[in-house]
C-alpha cells in the first residue's frame, strides 16, 4: 500500500484537505487529533474522491428507490386499501361499511350501542359487501320491516368541482347492482328494502351528526320537507317508521326492491297518489304519528270536499267497509288519538282524506 505524506490545509465536512509532498491537493476523512498545519502520513486508499461520493450516493438512492418500487408493487396502497365507497344498512339497527374498489370491507362503523354489540360479533372485515349485508340482516332477525341500503361514492379530491354523476364509475354501478341483487334474492318476503345511491354530501353530514348514511338522508329530507323530526328521534327509531313520514325519493337514484308483494310497494304509490296504501300500515303500527296528519286532514279537506269524494268513492271500497262506522263515533268523543282505532282513521293522512273524509267532513259539518 502506497503511503503519502502531506500537510493539512483545511477541514470541511468531516474531511481534511491535504497538500501532499508531490503538490497534489486531496481530501481524506478527518481523524481525531488532526489540526491545521499538521503533517500527516496517510494511505492512498484513504483519499476521498468526489466521484466516489457521487457513486455511493447514487447507489444508495437507487437501492432505496428499488425497495420502494417493490413495496408499492406488493402492497399497492394507493389503489386497494383506500376507501372508495360507503354502504350503510339501516333497519332497526344501523351499520355502515367502508369499501375499497373491490367492494371488500375495510372498516365497519356501528352507531347504536345495544345493537352494535350484536353486530360486533360478526367479523365482517375483508368480506365482500353482499355477504356482509346478508350476515347483518340474518343477525338482526328482522321480520316484516323496512331496510334502507344507501351507498355513496367517496368524493375524490380531483373531482371536487362537481358533478357527482361523473363520479359514478362502473365500479360504483356494480356495487349498486350487488346491493340490489342481494336485497332481491336473499331477504325474506316480509322485508321491504330500498337501495339508494346518494351524493357524498350526505356522508359528510352523517359524519357531522354521527349517524349512519341512511339516517342522514332521512334526517336531511325531513328538514327539507318541513317535518319536525329530532335527530335523537332519527337515531332511535327504526328506519321504517321514519320512511313513512319522510319521502326520500328525490335524494338520488332509488331502487325499490320486491314490488310484487302486496306490502312492498311503499315508495311508488307515494309518488302517484300520495299514500293511500302506505298510510294504512303506518296507522296501525304507530299511534304517535297521528298528531301531524290530523292537522293536515283538518286543513286540507275543507277546500275540495265533494268532487274528490265523488271521484274516489268507487275504488277504495275496502277502506270504506273497514272504517266508515268507526269514524263518526270517534270524532264526537274527541280528537286525541289515545285508542288505536281512532288514530287509523285520522291518520289516514292527506290521501284517504279524499276517500273517507267526505264522510267525516260532512258529518262533522252537520254536527
Amino acid at each position: 500500500m502506497i503511503k503519502q505524506k502531506g500537510t493539512i490545509l483545511k477541514f470541511k465536512n468531516n474531511l481534511a484537505i491535504i497538500m501532499t509532498t508531490d503538490c497534489k491537493v486531496v481530501s481524506i476523512i478527518k481523524q481525531p487529533g488532526m489540526y491545521v498545519g499538521l503533517e500527516v502520513l496517510f494511505n492512498i486508499n484513504e483519499v476521498v474522491h468526489k466521484k466516489n461520493k457521487i457513486i455511493i450516493s447514487s447507489q444508495i438512492i437507487a437501492g432505496v428507490a428499488a425497495i420502494f418500487i417493490i413495496l408499492l408493487a406488493f402492497f399497492n396502497p394507493f389503489t386497494n386499501s383506500r376507501v372508495y365507497a360507503y354502504v350503510a344498512v339501516d333497519s332497526i339497527t344501523s351499520i355502515e361499511f367502508e369499501l375499497d374498489k373491490n367492494n371488500k370491507i375495510l372498516k365497519v362503523n356501528y352507531f347504536n350501542d345495544d345493537t352494535s354489540s350484536l353486530l360486533k360479533e360478526l367479523d365482517l372485515k375483508h368480506q365482500s359487501v353482499d355477504v356482509a349485508i346478508r350476515e347483518v340482516i340474518k343477525k338482526s332477525n328482522l321480520d316484516e320491516s323496512v331496510i334502507l341500503i344507501s351507498a355513496c361514492l367517496k368524493e375524490q379530491s380531483n373531482d371536487k368541482s362537481g358533478d357527482t354523476k361523473k363520479n359514478h364509475s362502473e365500479e360504483f354501478d356494480r356495487l349498486i347492482d350487488i346491493c340490489r341483487s342481494t336485497a332481491e334474492k336473499d331477504f325474506d318476503e316480509d322485508i321491504r328494502s330500498k337501495v339508494v345511491e346518494t351524493p357524498y354530501d350526505y356522508k359528510k353530514l352523517a359524519d357531522i351528526n354521527k349517524i349512519s348514511l341512511g339516517r342522514s338522508i332521512v334526517y336531511e329530507k325531513a328538514k327539507e320537507q318541513g317535518i319536525d323530526m329530532d335527530i335523537e328521534e332519527i337515531k332511535s327509531k327504526s328506519i321504517g317508521e321514519a320512511l313513512k313520514k319522510v319521502k326520500i325519493d328525490d335524494v338520488g337514484v332509488v331502487h325499490d326492491v320486491k314490488k310484487d308483494k302486496p306490502q312492498k310497494p311503499v315508495s311508488e304509490p307515494e309518488r302517484k297518489e300520495p299514500s293511500k296504501e302506505k298510510t294504512d300500515p303506518i296507522e296501525k303500527k304507530d299511534p304517535n304519528t297521528i298528531i301531524e296528519p290530523k292537522n293536515k286532514t283538518q286543513e286540507k279537506p275543507l277546500p275540495e270536499p265533494k268532487n274528490k269524494f265523488e271521484e274516489t268513492v268507487v275504488e277504495p271500497k275496502d277502506n270504506f267497509e273497514e272504517t266508515p262506522f268507526v269514524e263518526p263515533k270517534d270524532k264526537p268523543e274527541g280528537k286525541p288519538g289515545l285508542e288505536p282505532k281512532n288514530k287509523p282513521k285520522e291518520t289516514l293522512n292527506s290521501e284517504p282524506k279524499h276517500n273517507k273524509k267526505p264522510e267525516v267532513d260532512i258529518e262533522t259539518y252537520k254536527k
Binding site: 500537510t7 508531490d22 487529533g33 489540526y35 491545521v36 484513504e46 466516489n52
Partner: protein
C-alpha cells in the same frame, strides 16, 4: 472503491490515524492534547455508562481517572496490531474506573493529591510547566495557512476548489509549479496578477512555451501555488521545490 470498502470491513485503523498515534507516542504534546480533547465526548460517555452519574461528570474524580486511563491507552496501544483504538481505550477506561471504584468503596476515604506532596515546589512548576511548550511554530503555520486562504479568496476561489483543479499528472503539475515560480520571481508579472486578479496570459506566454488554453485550465492551481511560494509556509514551499527538483 472496492478497495476502500474492504479496507473498512477489515476493521483496521487507517494509516493517517496510526501516524497520529505514532507522533503522540514520540512526544508531540500539542497533538496529544488535541487528540484527547477530540475524544472527550467519548470518554464522558464511557464514564457515564459505568458510573451513571449525570450531574457534573466533568468535575468528578471518575472523569479524571478516565482521562488518565485514556492517556494510558494511547501509550500502550500497539500500532502493529492495528486493532480498533476506540474499543481498546474503552476497555482500559472501564478497568481503571472499576479499580478506582473498588478502592474508594473499600476505604471510603478520598485524599486530595496535594496531601501527598511537599509544599516546597509550587503547583504551577509541577504540573503546568511544559518542557515541550514550543507551540509557536504550529501557531504560525496555522496563521500562515489562514492568510493563504484569505488571499486565494480574493481571486474568488477556495482551497476545496484545488482538490479538483490540481493536475492529475505529475508532468503537468511540475509545469504549473514552474509557471508559479516564474510569476513569484518576476515582480512585474506578480503585480499584473494582483491587478488583474487573473493570470497575465499574454506576458506569461513570452516567458513560458505554453498555450493560453493550458494556462487557463490550470489557472487556480497556479495562482494558489504562487501564494504558497510567496508565504512563509516552509513545509509547503519545500514540497514545491522538491517536486520541481529545485
Amino acid at each position: 472503491m472496492i478497495n476502500i470498502k474492504s479496507y473498512y470491513w477489515l476493521g483496521h485503523e487507517k494509516d493517517s490515524f496510526l501516524e497520529i498515534i505514532k507522533k503522540i507516542k514520540n512526544g508531540d504534546i500539542l497533538l496529544r492534547n488535541k487528540f484527547i480533547d477530540d475524544y472527550k465526548p467519548f470518554i464522558l460517555k464511557c464514564v457515564s455508562q459505568l458510573v451513571g452519574k449525570k450531574n457534573n461528570i466533568i468535575q468528578s474524580d471518575e472523569f479524571s481517572i478516565a482521562l488518565i486511563a485514556f492517556n494510558e491507552a494511547i501509550e500502550s496501544y500497539d500500532l502493529d496490531k492495528r486493532t480498533i483504538f476506540i474499543s481498546f481505550s474503552k476497555q482500559v477506561i472501564k478497568r481503571r474506573l472499576i479499580d478506582y471504584l473498588r478502592c474508594t468503596n473499600k476505604y471510603k476515604v478520598t485524599v486530595p493529591f496535594s496531601y501527598l506532596y511537599d509544599n516546597d515546589s509550587s503547583f504551577e512548576e509541577k504540573y503546568l510547566y511544559d518542557n515541550n511548550s514550543d507551540y509557536s511554530s504550529e501557531f504560525i503555520t496555522k496563521e500562515e495557512i489562514k492568510n493563504l486562504e484569505l488571499k486565494i479568496c480574493e481571486f474568488k476561489m477556495t482551497i476545496e476548489d484545488l482538490i479538483d483543479c490540481s493536475p492529475k499528472h505529475r508532468d503537468s503539475r511540475v509545469m504549473c509549479l514552474n509557471v508559479a515560480k516564474i510569476i513569484k520571481e518576476n515582480d512585474s508579472l506578480f503585480q499584473l496578477l494582483m491587478e488583474k486578479k487573473t493570470l497575465p496570459y499574454k506576458e506569461l506566454t513570452e516567458h513560458v512555451n505554453l498555450c493560453k488554453r493550458t494556462l487557463e485550465k490550470n489557472k487556480k492551481f497556479i495562482i494558489a501555488m504562487v501564494f504558497v511560494l510567496k508565504s512563509d509556509l516552509e513545509i509547503l514551499k519545500k514540497y514545491i521545490y522538491d517536486t520541481i527538483g529545485r
